[in-house]
Amino acid sequence: MKHLLLVLPLVFILLNQSLGQTVISGKVTDRKGEPLLGASIAIKGSYDGATSDSLGHFSFRTRKKDSVTISASYLGYEPEFQILVLKGGTLELHFKLKDAFNELNAVTITAGIFEASDSKRMVMLRPLDIVTTASGNADITAVMQLLPGSNRVGEQEGLFVRGGAAYETKTVIDGMIVQNPFFSSTPDVPQRGRFTPFMFKGMAFSTGGYSAQYGQALSSVLLLDTQDKVSDQSSTNVVAHLAGVGVGYTHKGAITGQLYYSNLAPFLKLVKTNIDFVTPPQGAGGSLTLNENLSKNSVLKMYVTYSDGGNTLGLPNYDDGGKIYQFKLRNRNLFTNNTYKVFFDEGKWIWQSGFSYSNNIDDINIGTTPGDRRDERSQVRSVLKRLWGKNQENSVLAGVEYHNILNSNLFGGYKASLEENYSTAFAETEFYLLTKLALRVGLRGEYTSILDRYNASPRFSAAYKTSQYSQVSFAMGQFYQTPEKNYLYTNRSLGYELANHFILNYQWSKSDRTFRVEAFDKEYKNLVREYQTTFDPNPYRFPTGATDNSGFGNAYGFDVFFRDKKTVRLADFWVTYSYLNTRRLFQNYPVEAMPIFSTTHNFSVVYKQFIPKISSNVGITYTYTSGRPYYDAANPVFLGDRTKSFQNVSIAASHIRNIKGSWLVFFMTLDNVLGRKNEFGFRYSSDGQSRFPVIPVTYRTLFFGVSMNISRHADVPKESKLDL
């Protein structure tokens, strides 16, 4: 045996040489020379080959002769080929593989953008995260306020981004601007967004430096992409909670009809409010959605919704010792958004066009004085996009938009109205110079009839991948916006307001852990200034003084974000800190000052845990916002005072249960658990002598409800919890 062992190799060596066997060995590395483990080395058309080891080495024998093609391939790299002539003996090969273009190693532009999406892998938020976040109340905007760059303004709806006012952020659904994304404003009572997060497959929240496809927003855009058709299933959904009931039915995944009735009376009975609701908010509405893949290459989406609701508030009259007067609002809103998308030439061309119409009517009674606000917007948009490159990773697009906007405001005997025709054209290209280096260059031109002026704004972004899991990204651009309608009612000779953004971002992301830090500088120009003999601190006043575009301002700062879904199993944790330094001379400010809606420090921590044993999700959110500037006539420094800090601890829990094939989700939230008496500022009598604090509608809020989903394929979501 021993002899045999010694002899056998010898026999083989002899055999090899005599029969022309070739030993092929070598190494597979990446471009930097780092060994690749598990790469496949193959001779084309034969079984012969090997797999590289942890040092990148491989070795194998072949009986192939003459000219052969040897390849080395590895997931995520471009395969490499060598053509060789085999004549026996030993061959030493070195393959240096180049990174292939894919989502894992390609850089993406992250400066100024926060995405929540189902389709992209490397996003930080999923739409489902919106509904499971404590203190978010299943409201898109409320959750966005827990992300860096945005700060909470407790008495008003909207996104206040990096020193910007709420009007500087536009909400966009499938590319189309939404005229009234929130339920109608009432003084010092913030409103919810009109759209449920379940409508959308993706959301992107821009903190600045956004694409040339969007405009008319000095600070930010909130981009919402509606769901695609995912299945042919029919299902019924019923929801009941403290503030109302709703029912929805989806037919074969294509048509969805929804109806709701809301009434806050049960909620107001249970929770102590700081505001006197003379008649509790109530309303009814419905929506119809059609979502169909007309052919393999085209998608039609149609959405129409109508709602009617209102309430009466008892508000203090600041000039009459706080005597209560009634503020009555009835809101009717019709909105339809329709898009058609077609792909042709194997998906290399994408053409999307859309039409939307919105009509919003607010009938208001302030005391005994009747008034109204009306906004009507019709818009059309068409964008043609062409993809190119080996992986169709590059794109160029061009588009046009046209809007007709009618606004009017009636108060007592005074009526103001506006008609605006706004048109825009834009072009943008996004391309990779290297897999590691992406650029986006865009230009947008706008014209609006109401100012009778044109503008052109360039946009530029770049991103460079610094390592496998990290990248730096940069964005800059000019952003124009037509002044707010309240100023245009009285002065049509105003010009565009302008903001210039510069954003630098670093992001590290690996296996459900993300760290991100972003620094920004924003310069405001041509802001509308209003001249008054004495400062009127009432934010709801109608501007009557002379106005011009001589205002200006700036904002700079940084934010830090860390998210970890990995360390604790089935948990999700994120922490956000934003620092903001901003000053402005605008509106009726007599001197440059930090605006009342901005805060220097914003901090929040969100924690969520899924507990499979009791099939429940629990979450807690803590928010800290440093004091906001407020006006005090006694202080010689304009807006020199700060409120106490805003702090809030919220908890949320949901429990899911399957009863006879139907899905029941019980949910509960408790906002401001500790009952902290937060304040947002003060309102003054016009002589500045008496003041009234602006406080939340409730100090502590309890809310609960249940949602039931009945699907014909009742077994469907069971497996969804596989391995949860």
Partner: protein
């Protein structure tokens, strides 16, 4: 010694010395080359004998080489796809899981094109869809559960006695919490049923799929605790 012997066998095979002996491996079709049968039998034995956690990449590489050399055979693509599906479970980096599953989907589509209406291919498709979902269940069930269910339904219509169909269904219930209508107790009869089917199942050749019994036995042990 074992390796040497293997090498000897391989070398001998290439010369066709023992080609006649390959008949032992019960090659289903006489058109299959003996070296194909031998290479496949070998790599399939290695895959089915692999410990959980063992890197299947070398086998996947071998299978892809065989697949490239034998473009009319569906089994190399099937097993290559299987390796990547398993790899997605052992891979710790979330982003890479999807890359493996993309490969698995490509290969199973190749196998399907070469051998349409095959129950084993449909079962594998169902497993890949479930693996896709397992990467991010909360957000993906809407898309992948219907794909998985459809593939299992098709497999059942072709061969209801395939034990891997019963295994996949039992796993679905086993890993679903009781509150969601699943649970170990509910899965127990399904697991037992699957094991019965495994006992009755005889692959037509050693390179045909014959995996899953160990997973069923593991679940049986857990469910009987």
């Amino acid at each position: 010694m074992k390796r040497l012997l293997m090498y000897f066998l391989f070398g001998a095979l290439n010369y066709g010395i023992i080609s006649a002996q390959s008949a032992d491996s019960q090659a289903p079709a006489s058109t299959q080359k003996p070296e194909f049968v031998e290479a496949m039998t070998d790599v399939v034995a290695d895959i089915q004998g692999a410990e959980f956690g063992e890197d299947l990449q070398p086998y996947a590489n071998t299978l892809e080489r065989i697949a490239a050399a034998e473009p009319k055979e569906w089994l190399p693509a099937y097993w290559g796809s299987f390796c990547y599906m398993i790899k997605s479970f052992t891979e710790p980096v979330v982003e890479k899981k999807d890359q493996y599953l993309e490969n698995a989907e490509k290969l199973v589509a190749t196998a399907d094109a070469l051998n349409p209406n095959n129950d084993e291919i449909e079962v594998l498709k169902a497993n890949i869809a479930s693996a896709r979902m397992a990467v991010d269940p909360m957000n993906r069930w809407q898309k992948y559960v219907p794909i998985s269910s459809a593939a299992i339904a098709k497999a059942k219509s072709i061969n209801p006695l395939n034990p891997r169909i019963a295994l996949h269904e039992a796993q679905g219930v086993f890993y679903t919490p009781e509150a969601y209508g699943g649970g170990k107790a509910k899965a127990l009869p399904m697991i037992k049923g699957a094991i019965e089917l495994y006992k009755a199942f005889k692959p037509t050749s050693p390179m045909m799929p014959n995996w899953g019994l160990d997973a069923a036995e593991y679940m049986l042990g857990e469910a009987q605790k």
